[in-house]
Structures are given as C-alpha cells and as structure tokens.
C-alpha cells in the first residue's frame, strides 16, 4: 500500500494539526520547560546573548552596555552555552520544523521574488528584534509565557501587537502588493 494514501500518515504527518491540539501541546511543553530549566519558555533573548558573544569574539565589550548589566542578561553572558540549556530549544524549533516538513514531504527551497521582499524581511526582522528586547520578549517570552505567568505585561503586549499588526498590514498592502 502506498504510504502517501495511508490514513494515519495523512492525519499525523501530512495535514496540519488543529489549533487546539497545538495549543494544548505548547502549554504542556511550557510546563516541562519551566520544571526542567526554572524559566518559562522564551526565544529571542538568546539571540541577543549569541550576538553579544560574537561581538565579544571580535573584540567588542557588550558587557559594559546597560542591557547586559541587568542581572539575568549579565548572568547569561558569562554563563556560556552549556549554562543556557533553554537556548538549545531555538535549535530544536528549527530542526523540528525541518523534520516536520520533510516527513510531510513538503520541503522546498523558495525563490526570492524581489529585492523589495528582501528589504521588507530584513527591516521587519530588525524592528521585531528591537521590539522584542524592549518589551522583555517576543510573542513567546512575553505573550505566551507572560500570560501563563499571570503577569500583566503579557496582556499589554497582546493589545499593542494588534496595533503593530494593523500598521504592518497597511504597509504590506501599500508596498508589497
């Protein structure tokens, strides 16, 4: 029998899972993350730490910056990769996503349509990175983990991300279509 037509293959590997199933699994994984590392799940703060290590390696001194003098950021900077088990989850996300797309046999190298698209992606990435740092996290570290921790900053983030998405949507229609 052809595997591609197998009902279980289709259900579990080929077709997207329902949002509610994803939500429950994410919730359970965040509990596991909190229990095993002592911190709720976050994604982007590790990007700042990695970039600081790279900057140190080429002779810079990010440790003198205000951001890296905050207690937890300073600890992450001197702790090294092995002390920072959660940052491995960022690699896990990338490899997991690759595995999922390979198992569904949907892997594809996508073409770049225009330099406008590249510029928009780079600019969007920079703004999101900056925003994530000044709001103590991205939609994972601040929204997902913040709301789960009963912290008000997660809810405030949630309200303002709507405004950001609204403005982003307007810009997208104006410049990318």
């Amino acid at each position: 029998m052809d595997l591609r037509n197998n009902v279980y293959y289709k259900k579990f590997l080929k077709e997207p899972w329902p949002y509610t199933v994803g939500a429950v699994i994410l919730g359970l994984l965040n509990i596991g993350m909190l229990v095993s590392t002592g911190k709720a799940w976050g994604v982007t703060s590790y990007f700042a730490t990695w970039a600081a290590w790279i900057y140190q390696a080429i002779g810079g001194h990010p440790e003198s910056w205000f951001y890296f003098q905050e207690k937890s950021e300073a600890a992450a900077l001197v702790g090294g990769f092995a002390q920072n088990m959660q940052s491995l989850s960022d690699f896990g996300i990338i490899f997991g996503a690759l595995l999922a797309t390979l198992l569904a046999s949907q892997f594809r190298i996508k073409k770049i349509r225009s330099w406008k698209q590249v510029a928009a992606a780079a600019l969007g990435g920079l703004i999101m990175g900056y925003g994530a740092r000044i709001s103590f996290g991205c939609n994972i570290g601040t929204l997902f983990s913040g709301v789960a921790s009963m912290s008000i900053h997660g809810w405030v983030y949630w309200i303002f991300i709507f405004f950001g998405a609204w403005i982003g949507g307007k810009l997208l229609v104006k410049y990318l279509i």
Binding site: P16, T101, S105, Q106, F107, R108, K110, K111, I112, R113, Q117, G169, L172, V173, L176, I177
Partner: protein
C-alpha cells in the same frame, strides 16, 4: 475552458490571499482561477475565504510543497 493563473511562489501570508481576492473581483461568473503557491498557510486561508464566499474550491498538491488551488467563481 480557460483558467486564469495566479502565480504566488515565494510569497508569504497574507499576500497570496490578498492577491487572490483582488484577482477574483475582476473575474466573471463561471471563470476559474488557479492560485499556485508554495506557502502551506495559504492552503488554509485561501480555501477558507473562497468557501465563505460560496465559491467552489479544490486543492491539489502538484509537487513536494507546491500546490494549486482551483477556485470557480460560482456567483
């Protein structure tokens, strides 16, 4: 029967959906539009919009990670 092709390769959400909506508005009743996409999220929002509008929709995976969404303007 001729169909209008809308090539959206390399375009991420929500661009395929917005392009499809714009193109569909220009189509006459009875005409078919084929949206070519390699973005799996478009498989969710494009057919969802089309069936909400009451159009006839079909999706085929033509290659690994490459889909064609057939939408017939029924009204």
């Amino acid at each position: 029967m001729s169909a209008i092709r809308l090539e959206c390769l390399g375009e991420a959400c929500p661009i395929p959906l917005i392009k499809a909506q714009k193109k569909m508005a220009a189509l006459r009743v009875g005409e078919v539009m084929i949206v070519e996409t390699d973005h799996s999220c478009a498989l969710k929002n494009v057919p969802e919009w089309a069936s909400k509008e009451g159009y006839h929709v079909e999706v085929t995976e033509v290659d690994a990670g490459l889909w064609e969404i057939y939408i017939k303007k029924t009204k």
